[in-house]
Subunit: 382 residues, 2 copies
Amino acid sequence: MRVLILGGDGYLGWPTAMSFAAKGHDVYVVDNYMRRNIAQATQSEALIPTPNLNDRANIFKSLSDCDIQVKIGDICDYRLLETVFKEFQPEAVIHYAEQPSAPYSMIGFDQARETLNNNLNATFNVIWAVMEHAPDCHIVKLGTMGEYGTPNIDIEEGWLEIEHKGRKDKFLYPRAAGSLYHTTKVLDTDLLWFYVRTFGLRVTDLMQGPVYGLSTDESDQDERLLPNFHYDDIFGTAVNRFLVQAVAGVPLTVYGKGGQIRGYLNLKDTLQCVELAMHSPAAKGELRILNQFTETFSINELADRVQRVGNQKGLNVEVKSIPNPRKEAEDHYYNPAHSGLMDLGLKPNYMTDEVVAQMLDNVIKHKDRIDESKIMPRIKWK
Amino acid sequence: MRVLILGGDGYLGWPTAMSFAAKGHDVYVVDNYMRRNIAQATQSEALIPTPNLNDRANIFKSLSDCDIQVKIGDICDYRLLETVFKEFQPEAVIHYAEQPSAPYSMIGFDQARETLNNNLNATFNVIWAVMEHAPDCHIVKLGTMGEYGTPNIDIEEGWLEIEHKGRKDKFLYPRAAGSLYHTTKVLDTDLLWFYVRTFGLRVTDLMQGPVYGLSTDESDQDERLLPNFHYDDIFGTAVNRFLVQAVAGVPLTVYGKGGQIRGYLNLKDTLQCVELAMHSPAAKGELRILNQFTETFSINELADRVQRVGNQKGLNVEVKSIPNPRKEAEDHYYNPAHSGLMDLGLKPNYMTDEVVAQMLDNVIKHKDRIDESKIMPRIKWK
């Protein structure tokens, strides 16, 4: 299958590219290095330096004999994206090409407007490139569980049947996200849904929770093939922050009360989910929405887990609450459905103690690179 | 009160500016002439030529001794908008500054992307200018009833309480609009709601139906002060199209079955609604949504009305169905709430036969200017 991966230099894009290439697909990746540039500009570089995308593709080729075609460029430039579509004629496009940092989107006007315009125009251009140059191509778009926020009712998979004053209809599940970044993903979904129902596109929107882990069949071959590991306050997740804090010997910083519950998944499962979605495409005129995570836990539970496993390894791990830089519920109802991907065949890799221990080992190996000044929140929502 | 009117050259912006100035408010208008430029580019000029915005303000000043301060410029340029905010320090901003044509937004890639970027960046910049330079300023944003589409349940005013599996929460009413233009208004609302709940802005979002009429206390003084009357397929409404067709002696063109029901209002009532909203501002952190129309009827009922009144005037009016260029339900449930503005004090001016007759008289006066080639749909959704 000809698979176009947008945002192919990213934490998810790169391992997806390797995984699909290893499985025999014809893989083309595009990236504009926006994340690398923002990381440099905000002192948020990843823990482990990664070769550039062309170099990574060459290293992977030398080890696996699999080709990954690379284009460095911005898909917000429609002419560039059109050129790629005409040349490659993708059968599936995996769209990761968005500014992915919530804190970055909350720094100020410039960063917010950059996030809005990058994310909306990227999605808009993908829609049009498919309509004009590959109308049967299946769009697999990465959304986020963060689109839903933390409502007081069960979260369904994208859609909600509503009965109101004795009448019924089905709608996109109502969304209220916690950052401008997450809000741009809400707008993406609205935009996709308009073009899907009006022009009969095929779209799968994967509402993904926070992803953890670096290990995949391909990245395990050579450290130069590892995905980016960010532990900073801009691109880092709570999981990565806790792992690094445990290794650095500083307390794990829980934001506020720590009752924030999210749905998490292993990087290996992201690869599975995207592949499962790709092999069973949405119908023409269908916006299929799947909630992509395998288990839920609170920030406090996550901190406890890292503390327990860290202490078993002889680290002396403390946990401490700090004022929450975000505006979010710290104690809330959370019951999101997530059977769709299981029904497609997902075999979850849960966050076992063994998995946490492996992740800690990875960080320990690079302990000398940890820059503690990157860890604490530098951006506040207020 | 210091009132900033964005899109002050438009069909609604200009009469709003005159009305507020006549009532003693300090009025500042900004417009980038986007509508005029698109009208020229697409052969969609208004029936009655209107002086440019500076000239109109001068004519109005000479007749009423009321000042309207004019700036020609693009609010998507944040530096320009900041300059206006710093200089004028508005207490209320009325935001009409959007590309308002559904058919234009459906022509192709360029027009769609122009609509998306203009409308989203305009709203985004207004939000930020208020946050940074006038945090207590009340934003009155023109949305559209078209955001809701035609759901099978009653349309409430912006919000919906949902009970699901025994639990309850309140959400933005789910939206599914019928054009890219209308979809950008959905995105506007999502964006406003994020910033309102996160940073405590005051916003009123007026979900307006199609507006008709040219007559206001101020525009009646001099024909050069009339709002724009568009009857073309780009900016014209069904009301204006039917009026012009009746006068030109060509059949009124009903799109498809004609069962499309919408909520309409008189231009005089738009002025009332915006003023009522302005004088009773939303609270800090409140996104108040009001459905702005006074009566609903179907396209067939509208055609019948224009035909009946036209025939009374001695015109020989025929009605004919043509294939619908849009993708929309032509026979649907429609029961939208609209008590909020009535509760604030709105006194409706309904579309009586007398009102239709006056509108026909206005068109008859300019009968020789009618260009029939502008009337039929040139843009199809498919």
